[in-house]
């Protein structure tokens, strides 16, 4: 079974986010870049499926050269090969543009399943996966916490997390699945894995290689335009609840919640 994993590199979740002077981007100096946490689950699931059914796992990334680090990490975990689309024309590409680039890569590949993270923890849009499934005309199941594949490899049964429960969705393959945390526990890359990854193929392509029109990507092709990026509003200074004993503090807090905030 051949599986494609679309992967993004994002700032580590412990990063402080600073806004650039132009107010339209974040400051990327001193950012620690990591594989998107949900994509780690996608890679792990792909490897488990490969271990059961055989086949190949191909990692696809879109972005600048540094993204090769995240792709190499996935190769070190056990994926077979990587493809990076790196092109200066991609600066400012939105979700739909990214999905177009991915679709252009994928149209030449044979696959049974595409796995993505449920969202990037940078832009938090959760759009590329469903955009891509639509462009490819294949079914999608998003926010998946459990995945079962029929013995003959033709049908997937995916547990999709919904508010207060789950939907179990059946889809014929090929399908696109987006991974939620809890789907699995991603493995760490082993030292031999890291050594092997250095020799695995990692193709770098430009949009011209893929036949993508520059007008469809980058800022000029973006349907969503950022007007400005702002910091969160500061919260007003809070009140420390004083008291001699835990009991006294708890009583005061209860009356503050009831009488001052009128929230309980």
């Amino acid at each position: 079974m051949n599986i494609l994993v679309c992967l993004k590199q994002v700032p580590d979740t412990e990063s402080q986010i600073k806004i650039a002077p132009d107010g339209k981007a974040i400051v990327t100096d001193n950012i620690k870049w990591v594989m998107n946490p949900y994509d780690e689950c996608a890679v792990e699931e792909a490897l488990r499926i490969k271990e059961k059914f055989g086949g190949e796992v191909t990692i696809i990334g879109v972005g600048p050269k540094r993204v090769t680090e995240a792709i190499r990490t996935a190769l070190a975990m056990g994926a077979d090969k990587g493809i990076l689309v790196d092109d200066p024309a991609l600066t400012g590409t939105d979700s739909l543009g990214t999905a177009r680039v991915l679709a252009a890569v994928i149209k030449d590949l044979e696959y049974d399943m595409i796995l993505c993270g449920k969202q990037g923890v940078d832009d938090d849009s959760a759009v590329v996966g469903s955009n891509l499934a639509e462009l490819l005309g294949i079914p999608q199941v998003s926010v998946v916490v459990k995945l079962e594949i029929s013995e003959d490899g033709s049908v997937v049964k995916a547990h999709k997390e919904v508010e207060g429960g789950a939907f179990v969705i059946e889809a014929a393959l090929p399908a696109l699945i987006t991974a939620q945390k809890g789907l699995n526990e991603p493995r760490y890359a082993s030292l031999p894995g890291i050594m092997k990854a250095k020799k695995k193929p990692l193709d770098v392509k430009t949009i011209a290689d893929l036949g993508v029109d520059a007008g469809e990507v980058g800022e000029s092709g973006a349907k969503i335009k950022v007007i400005q990026i702002t910091p969160p509003e500061e919260r007003a200074a809070g009140k420390m609840v004083e008291g001699e004993t835990p009991q006294e503090k708890a009583d005061k807090l209860a009356s503050l919640l009831h009488e001052e905030a009128k929230i309980i």
């Binding site: 412990e14 402080q16 508010e163 945390k181 990026i229 835990p246 919640l257």
Partner: protein, 327 residues
């Protein structure tokens, strides 16, 4: 020319979800500013009687798509119906809930219509006839204000619990229209095999009005009983920090933060949570934050409206008792 604001109402088991009314309320405010009508799109089976409820919050008309294949949400069927309606009637704006359903639906619908979508918005306005949306990025460590180019309709999803509900107007009448659509079974490639409801029917964190959350300071999974007790008393949902989930004390579905749920309750009580940046990012839009922690230097106190420095194993049970008296 594209006209009007649509909202996609959300129902589960035939009951409208609260976000549907939040969407109608916000759409009414935007539509009044534009001098345009609000239509709600309602998909389901035997669902027509729910249309009047949407009218009370401000919908001028409700377009009902009634079909057995629309009983429970599936991407294929819902996107197909809404795309057909949008292509035929050309609304200027379509709003959906930033729920699991709305996020799944909006991305696919946007790609089918070749337009952009602004996801998980916390503020919406109209400038020069275009929708302008403010949305958290990096789980709320920053906010992006975005608009659209070359997008008709302009699609956005609204974060649950953020947009204010209109006072329902019982006297408001609403025009109910049967949607014209066709569904081709060969296009429906996914089906819902089973719906699993979580035991106890607790409110999901993303929809909860009150949350009691526990962190590393809880010391172990069994100690969450004191949080459950407080939560039961005040009708809250119990959440957890990432370290607690990573330790296996609570399921991932309970995690609040950048790689868990991003929440906006009216009341968030953080117990034994120090306040790692990825946790603060996920809960700092809560309306009122209470922190209970042993360590007076814990970063959570920077975000708290009320802070209690103390042993949570003493303070939390005492708080539960004290609240029993005032309730």
């Amino acid at each position: 020319m594209a006209q009007g604001i649509w909202i996609v109402a959300e129902q589960r088991e035939g009951e409208l979800r609260k976000v549907s009314f939040e969407l109608v309320s916000e759409a009414r405010r935007l539509a009044d500013a534009m001098g345009q009508p609000v239509a709600a799109i309602l998909l389901g089976s035997n669902i027509k009687e729910k249309a009047a409820e949407l009218g009370k919050y401000g919908a001028d008309k409700v377009i009902v798509a009634d079909d057995d294949r629309l009983t429970t949400y599936t991407t294929d069927a819902y996107v197909s119906v809404i795309a057909q309606l949008a292509q035929a009637q050309e609304p200027a704006i379509i709003l959906l809930g930033a729920s699991v359903q709305g996020k799944d639906l909006s991305g696919r619908l946007a790609a089918r219509l070749g337009v952009g979508v602004a996801q998980d918005c916390v503020a919406l306005s109209i400038e020069d006839g275009n929708l302008v949306a403010k949305r958290p990025i990096y789980a709320g460590k920053a906010y992006a204000t975005v608009t659209y180019t070359d997008s008709v309709p302009q699609i956005a999803t609204a974060r649950p619990n953020v947009f204010e509900l209109n006072e329902p107007d019982e006297s408001r009448s609403v025009e109910v229209i049967d949607a014209e659509f066709s569904l081709d079974d060969s296009q429906l490639k996914t089906k819902v095999a089973e719906v699993i409801e979580e035991a106890g029917g607790k409110v999901d964190l993303t929809e909860a009005e009150r949350i009691v959350s526990g962190g590393r300071g809880m010391k172990g999974p069994e100690e969450f009983a004191i949080l459950e007790e407080l939560a039961d008393l005040i009708a809250a949902t119990v959440g957890a920090s990432r370290s607690v989930v990573d330790a296996g004390w609570r399921p991932h579905a309970d995690q609040v933060g950048q790689t868990g749920k991003v929440v906006s309750p009216n009341l968030y009580i953080a117990c034994g949570i120090s306040g790692a940046i990825q946790h603060l990012a996920g809960m700092s839009t809560s309306k009122l934050i209470v922190a209970i922690n042993k360590d007076p230097e814990a970063p959570i106190f920077q975000k708290a409206d009320y802070g209690v420095v103390g042993d949570l194993f003493e303070v939390v049970p005492a708080l539960t008792e004290a609240l029993k008296k005032v309730l």
